[in-house]
């Protein structure tokens, strides 16, 4: 082989066997900075927290005016589900979220991909997106009510707009990060432009797009509740607002629990997608 040793043999001190018991052991200093998953801890934290609240509210340490006992919240949730009223609130909320987020993320992925692929789109749209991104979308709700009416369309529009900007930013970042050597490889084998986009750019950008989707969905839920608080007969947001104005803490917390479960479920679904489609990542 071409590699020649830098030192000729014999310039190193000969290695001597050392009697094992003598000398200090080298101290270990390479630990930490390596999070490992620990099973059961998450559940333990939940259980402890709920148990503490239950105990506090029952003994009166926590006033019933500030916090209902968790068991009462569970009971309220149970009654809500049994009477079917949970569904009358959950169904319109989920519909709004799904339709709004579908519009927003689809447009966002399309525009984001265009920004990633075409210099003209990038030059023209990136400043616009940067200008739109920091606007708190809730502030636009009155405007959307004027534009789209008090009905469903204004809620779809708000959620769509709120999920659109983070999706655009995540998508064009993901397209930018696709390995250029893979693209050149595709071109060098004579793949058509469309094949390069469909078979190399989009699958390569998919992990980044999915993690952008996590953010978008969370924003979508926030906006959903905000929109429903401003004008809706049914929906989790409306339910919480009503409970709040009646100072019905049990129902209020029941509503908040539903929202939290909704968020966790959606994030779990995205995790499922990731495991299914991104198993190729090392």
């Amino acid at each position: 082989m071409a590699d020649t040793p830098l030192l000729a043999a014999g310039t190193l001190p000969p290695s001597r066997p050392v009697t094992p018991a003598k000398g200090q052991p080298v101290p270990f200093r390479g630990g930490g900075f390596q999070p490992v998953p620990i099973r059961g801890v998450a559940i333990l934290v939940f259980v402890l927290l709920i148990a503490a609240l239950e105990l506090g509210t029952r003994t009166g340490v926590i006033s019933n005016l500030t916090m209902p006992p968790p068991s009462a919240i569970v009971e309220t949730l149970w009654n809500l589900a049994a009477s079917g009223r949970l569904w009358t609130h959950l169904y319109p909320s989920l519909t709004r979220l799904v339709i709004g987020a579908a519009i927003g993320t689809t447009l966002g992925i399309a525009i984001g991909t265009m920004i990633g692929l075409f210099s003209l789109a990038r030059a023209g749209l990136v400043p616009l997106v940067s200008a739109l991104f920091p606007i708190p979308k809730i502030a636009l709700l009155p405007l959307f009510v004027i534009w789209f009416g008090i009905g469903e369309s204004s809620k779809y529009a708000l959620i769509a707009f709120g999920t659109f900007t983070p999706t655009v930013v995540a998508t064009f970042g993901a397209v930018d990060n696709v390995d250029r050597t893979l693209i050149r490889m595709g071109q060098s084998f004579g793949l058509s432009w469309w094949s390069v986009v469909r078979k190399i750019v989009l699958p390569g950008a998919f992990p980044g797009i999915l993690s952008g989707l996590r953010v978008s969905i969370a924003i979508g839920i926030i906006l959903l509740v905000a929109a429903e608080m401003l004008g809706a007969e049914h929906g989790i947001g409306a339910y919480i607002l009503e409970a709040g104005s009646l100072y019905d803490l049990e129902r209020l917390f029941a509503g908040v629990t539903v929202l939290s479960v909704m968020g966790v479920t959606l994030s779990w679904l995205i995790g499922l997608l990731e495991r299914r489609f991104l198993s190729w990542r090392s």
Binding site: M1, A2, L182, S188, F189, G190
Partner: protein
């Protein structure tokens, strides 16, 4: 089909990287391009394959490429360039998909190139499961699948450890012996150049010019590591490059 590089020059801004390169790549031979780092050998290869445009001169094809060749000029990249989300078989399929071949034909080609690179058992493996040497064999199989008239190999063994490099070199030699192919092989490793090259082209440091051309007449299958004749040629090549490599090492990157 022969390839001719015709008084090719290239500059990035006002830095000339390649100057008046004249080169012929005869059919059925492996031409190695060696030179100190930054002499523009990879740039030259990308120009031969049409991935970059020279500022002056041109690369020309003499004669028609073989009719059954799907992609006459085909690259093998240093870092393999495999799609991580496709398994071995589908990575090869990728370069056949745009050619509208009948299904049976595609399956036949894939089986054939997998057998030639001894990868048949790994057809369903994902790139992340493969070692570096295996990945490069997949990349070579993919290149063979389009029946190239000329393979353009950009330091194909540089990302591998020396044992794997030796094994893959033997693989390349046996591939060539069974069915001679034309190749331009860029490397900075002189041992590879003298093992694989019928002709070794030494480029000078920036601006890259053809410093010397050394032909090696020993048939590929008769060459082996540590052969005195090859050692001599390698020493000669190193003499040609030594001073230039020293100067190149001291240069600032964008100077």
């Amino acid at each position: 089909m022969d390839l001719v590089v015709d008084t090719l020059s290239h500059a990035y801004g006002n830095v000339t990287v390649l100057q008046d390169i004249d080169l012929t790549i005869p059919s059925g031979q492996i031409v190695c391009l060696v030179g100190p780092s930054g002499c523009g050998k990879s740039t030259l290869l990308r120009m031969i394959g049409g991935l970059e445009r020279p500022t002056q001169g041109a690369v020309r094809l003499l004669g028609e490429p073989p009719r059954d060749s799907l992609n006459p000029l085909t690259f093998v990249f240093q870092h393999f360039a495999l799609l991580p989300w496709r398994n071995v078989e589908d990575n090869i399929r990728l370069v056949l998909e745009d050619h509208r071949l009948p299904k049976a034909e595609v399956a036949r080609i894939i089986d054939d190139v997998l057998a030639r690179t001894r990868l048949t058992d790994f057809a369903k493996a994902l790139p992340k499961q493969l070692s570096g040497g295996m990945k490069q064999r997949v990349a070579i199989a993919r290149a063979l699948a389009v029946r190239p008239a000329c393979m353009l190999m950009d330091e194909p063994l540089s990302a591998l450890d020396s044992q794997t490099r030796e094994l893959l070199m033997e693989d390349l030699i046996s591939l060539w012996t069974r069915e001679p192919f034309t190749a331009v092989y860029v490397t900075h490793n002189l041992a590879e150049a003298v093992r694989l090259g019928h002709r070794v082209v030494v480029l000078s440091r920036r601006p890259g010019r053809v410093h010397d051309v050394v032909d090696i007449d020993i048939p590929l299958q008769d060459r082996h590591a540590g052969m005195p004749e090859l050692e001599k040629t390698q020493a000669h090549l190193w003499e040609l490059m030594r001073r230039e490599a020293q100067v190149a090492d001291m240069e600032l990157i964008d100077g």
